[in-house]
């Protein structure tokens, strides 16, 4: 059979199974794997892009990825993919892959050897261990993040590691911690199949999590009824599918949540039994903490009293009638309600507060703990949950939800890592904005971070206010920027040392998606040139540090921190020739999973993930030796750790198995439009491009579909400014400016006085304009609101 016929047959088979599955739902369908043949071998991997965590089948022929198919066996996507997912294979084959280490000499990046590169990094650490930081990513694989965390926390022992996920989901973490005492959603995607009502809080899943959204919309085409409610600051592609579109003022979400709770109390429609059995009440302290201050239910009700629907209408811009409509839905016990959110609620200077309040709405109304009844945050990156939240690659974290500041947690970690007592530093490192501020501040003025090693992320495009957080460091000879990446991104172009990395199926890997699902894949093709695994790079630096005499690189028995044996002999995994002599991922993962018991985030042995399309934690061993995943945490019918009652919050902040319902007042954002800067600016993503576009802008089809960033502008504002579609405007804030064409009545439609710009385009850096103000607890910056002015770009020659 010719390969073309084979691929056509294979495509038709996959489409037929997907069609049957979509029509009939999950039941009664045979699971099909793509047929082997015509020189194409298939293997599973999660998609490299968003936190939905779809599985693909990757077709490889002649050492190259040649085909991508949605994985029929994957529960997440049931064989479907979005436009990014089905082009994911092409992300490997951009023409400008980095293939050799590069060092900046006299202003130019010049090739050097790997040995030289590794030695340069190790010497930077040796010269000033306290000033060395690692800036990582929710795109790190789980073993990569674990190795980086171990290098920094067990080895260098300065805790200077933080990830880009700080920018996208840190407020969701603090919201879960302050409400339930433990991170990550209780529910899972199965809720989307069961909910009668889905409330989207500042969320645009039609573009950001398209396969999840099609899973919801699909229920309608099967004749099921599901009400979609869109609460946001602009109309998006999602809005068109929603029965209710509630356009709010920026920060209006706080008032809306308070208004819903007010009406539930006023009408007595809250779930009295659920509240009496499972909830306590809390208010914030100054400075804010995750524990807050105790509050009686009566005092909590008094605090809510002022948030009448009429007052909320003034604060939020959403009508009192719609606030009552939302409250009436939450007041009904016969409906199942799921809330979804992502950056809209997290990139918020009151991010922890709004996360707390949305959990509070669900707890107060008892819409919790049954399939379809859940408050669920989504993540933007494929392993923001797996690598950042679970592995703890944050400046204050240790693996498995442990904290560096807690002595008993440090002791547990030291025992697992076989470290001498007291090795782990109890002082948290700097969070992302602080780390980069210090890197961009001269040493003499307190800038105590002098080297940052960036892996798998592009901060020179994605950090807010890059004029202040990144640019000054590039003019300071004391500061040294190391970047591991696959393409010459904006950050690579500014780097002092560049390391070429392997990407996705060019290496073994594991991700953890938004629904607590841990996924595994094997290396399928070789990386180009001298590109190498990020995990190997970290281990090679650790070994070089040991050779140079760094005391932290050995455990208490004098063995290398990443000591690996096979058949009783040490395998030199720091030497790339031997890196794949053993499965390093498997070794690191099986060590890491020892941490996951403490907070009941149990992971199964690596071998179980090889067999599965991901498993949702806690994954608990059964009497017969099999491993069972958990779909619904804290609920007796599914969670093996619930020992009393139908619902048990077994990591409760108040240590009485109850969750916390918080009161947080509505507050204005730190910067609001005024006479000088009269517009709101919101930034975000588009369906074609993934985050800073470093991969998707190199995929010709995606580049062609969306080649350039733009500014969405309301028709009335365009008229007042005298600009037409496609004309270039200058958007300016108090921090910086950029130029870009306007799009009127485009894909997204902001209300008058508000504009939107996506951040995927490295030629139009909107983060020169954004604000680095952040939530006081989560330290997550607010990319969704700052004040700007807009003017038409003068014609050449005019000022």
């Amino acid at each position: 059979m010719e390969r073309r016929d084979f691929l056509k047959g294979s495509a038709m088979g996959a489409a037929t199974v997907a069609a049957a599955r979509l029509t009939k739902g999950k039941d009664g369908l045979a699971l099909a794997a793509p047929a082997e043949g015509a020189g194409v071998t298939w293997n599973k991997a999660p998609c490299r892009f968003c936190g939905t965590g779809c599985h693909v089948q990757v077709g490889v022929a002649g050492g190259k990825v040649v085909a991508i198919q949605g994985d029929e066996k994957a529960e997440v996507n049931k064989g479907l993919l979005c436009v990014k997912g089905y082009h994911v294979g092409l992300a490997l084959y951009g023409k400008d892959r980095l293939t050799t280490p590069l060092l900046r000499k006299n202003g130019k990046l010049e090739p050097i050897t790997w040995d030289q590169a590794i030695e340069i990094i190790a010497k930077r650490v040796m010269a000033n261990p306290a000033g060395f930081a690692v800036y990582g990513s929710g795109q790190w694989t789980i073993p990569e993040g674990y190795a980086a965390n171990k290098l920094v926390k067990a080895g260098i022992a300065n805790n200077q590691i933080d990830p880009n996920a700080r920018l996208c989901m840190a407020s969701a973490v603090t919201g879960f911690l302050s409400t339930y005492g433990v991170d990550e959603p209780a529910g899972c995607y199965d809720d989307l199949d069961k909910a009668d009502v889905i409330v989207l809080w500042g969320n645009n899943p039609a573009e950001m999590h398209p396969v999840l959204f099609s899973r919801i919309v699909d229920r309608r085409s099967r004749g099921e009824s599901v009400t979609l409610i869109d609460i946001g600051t602009r109309r998006t592609r999602t809005s068109g599918f929603c029965q209710h579109v509630l356009t709010m003022k920026p920060h209006g979400d706080l008032a809306i949540a308070l208004g819903i709770m007010h009406v539930l109390i006023e009408k007595g429609t809250y779930d009295k039994d659920f509240v009496a059995k499972y909830c306590n009440f809390r208010q914030r302290t100054d400075p804010p903490t995750l524990d807050g201050k105790e509050m009686s239910f009566d005092d909590w009700k008094k605090a809510l009293a002022e948030y009448t629907p009429e007052k909320v209408e003034k604060l939020s811009g959403v009508s009192a009638k719609d606030i009552r409509m939302l409250a009436d839905l939450f007041g009904r016990r016969d409906l199942k309600i799921t809330s979804l959110w992502c950056m809209g609620m997290n990139q918020h200077t009151r991010g922890t507060a709004i996360n707390d309040l949305v959990h509070g709405v669900h707890l107060l109304s008892g819409h919790f703990g049954k399939p379809g009844d859940a408050p669920t945050s989504l993540t933007g990156q494929p392993s923001a949950c797996g690598t950042v939240r679970e592995v703890g690659t944050l400046a204050h974290g240790l693996p498995g939800g442990l904290l560096v500041a807690k002595e008993e947690h440090r002791k547990e970690a030291e025992a697992i890592w076989n470290l001498p007592a007291g090795r782990i530093n109890g002082k948290p490192g700097y969070h992302t904005v602080d780390m980069w501020k210090r890197f961009s501040t001269p040493k003499a003025k307190g800038g105590d971070i002098d080297t940052i090693w960036v892996q798998v992320t592009n901060p020179a495009q994605s950090l807010p206010n890059i004029n202040e957080l990144v640019d000054p460091s590039r003019k300071d000879p004391d500061k040294f920027l190391i970047v591991s990446d696959v393409y010459p991104t904006q950050t690579v172009k500014m780097a002092d040392l560049v390391l070429p990395s392997a990407l996705w199926v060019e290496k073994n890997g594991m991700f953890g998606n938004s629904e607590r699902r841990t996924q595994q894949w094997f290396k399928m093709v070789e990386p180009p040139g001298q590109a190498r695994d990020d995990c190997w790079q970290l281990i090679a630096v650790a070994h070089k540090l040991m050779e140079l005499g760094h005391p932290g690189m050995k455990d208490k028995d004098g063995k290398f921190l990443f000591h690996t044996e096979k058949d009783g002999k040490e395998v030199p995994i720091w030497d790339y020739k031997h890196y794949y002599d053993v499965n390093v991922d498997e070794r690191l993962f099986n060590e890491y999973r020892k941490f996951t018991r403490f907070k009941h985030k149990d992971l199964a042995p690596y071998s179980e993930y090889v067999k599965a399309r991901g498993l949702r934690w806690p994954v608990v061993e059964q009497k017969d030796g099999t491993w069972r995943e958990t779909k619904f945490r804290f609920a007796k019918f599914d969670d093996p750790y619930v020992t009393k009652g139908d619902i048990e919050f077994y990591h409760s902040v108040t240590k009485d198995s109850r969750a916390l319902i918080w009161f947080h007042p509505h507050e204005q954002p730190p910067e609001v439009p005024d006479a000088a800067y009269p517009f709101w600016l919101c930034t975000g993503r588009v369906i074609e491009h993934w985050h800073t576009g470093s991969l998707t802008m190199r995929i010709p089809q995606l580049h062609a579909a969306m080649p350039q960033a733009y500014l969405e502008l309301h028709r009335d504002d365009a008229k007042a400014l005298g600009v037409a579609n496609g004309e270039v405007v200058i958007v300016e804030s108090r921090r910086g400016s950029c130029e870009l064409p306007v799009w009127i009545d485009g894909r997204g439609q902001p209300p008058p006085g508000s504009v939107f710009v996506p951040f995927f385009d490295e030629t139009i850096l909107i983060n020169r304009v954004t604000l680095d103000a952040h939530d006081p607890l989560s330290k997550q910056p607010d990319y969704k609101k700052c004040a700007v002015r807009i003017r038409k770009k003068p014609a050449a020659g005019k000022v």
Binding site: A20, L80, A705
Partner: protein, 76 residues
């Protein structure tokens, strides 16, 4: 040559099938209720993308979901 596997969600099967019959790049499979599996074969990936978008605009078609894409240069 680019080969894509798609699932079309139909509003009206007869109208959609009539519209699809005009395009030799599209091969239809057996409909599963209102879901029609199809395979498209185009000269370039860009054309595949355009075709996919135009299918979504055809009378009788509600959505197009993409299931697979093969971009094997050796079959081009």
């Amino acid at each position: 040559m680019t080969v894509s596997g798609l699932v079309l969600t139909l509003e009206n099967e007869a109208i959609a099938l009539a519209a699809l019959a005009n395009d030799s790049r599209v091969v239809c499979g057996e409909a599963q209720g209102l879901r029609l599996p199809v395979v498209t074969e185009t000269e370039t990936p860009e054309e595949a993308e355009e075709l996919c978008e135009s299918l979504a605009r055809l009378p009788g078609v509600l959505f197009v979901d993409v299931v697979s894409v093969a971009f094997d240069t050796e079959v081009m």
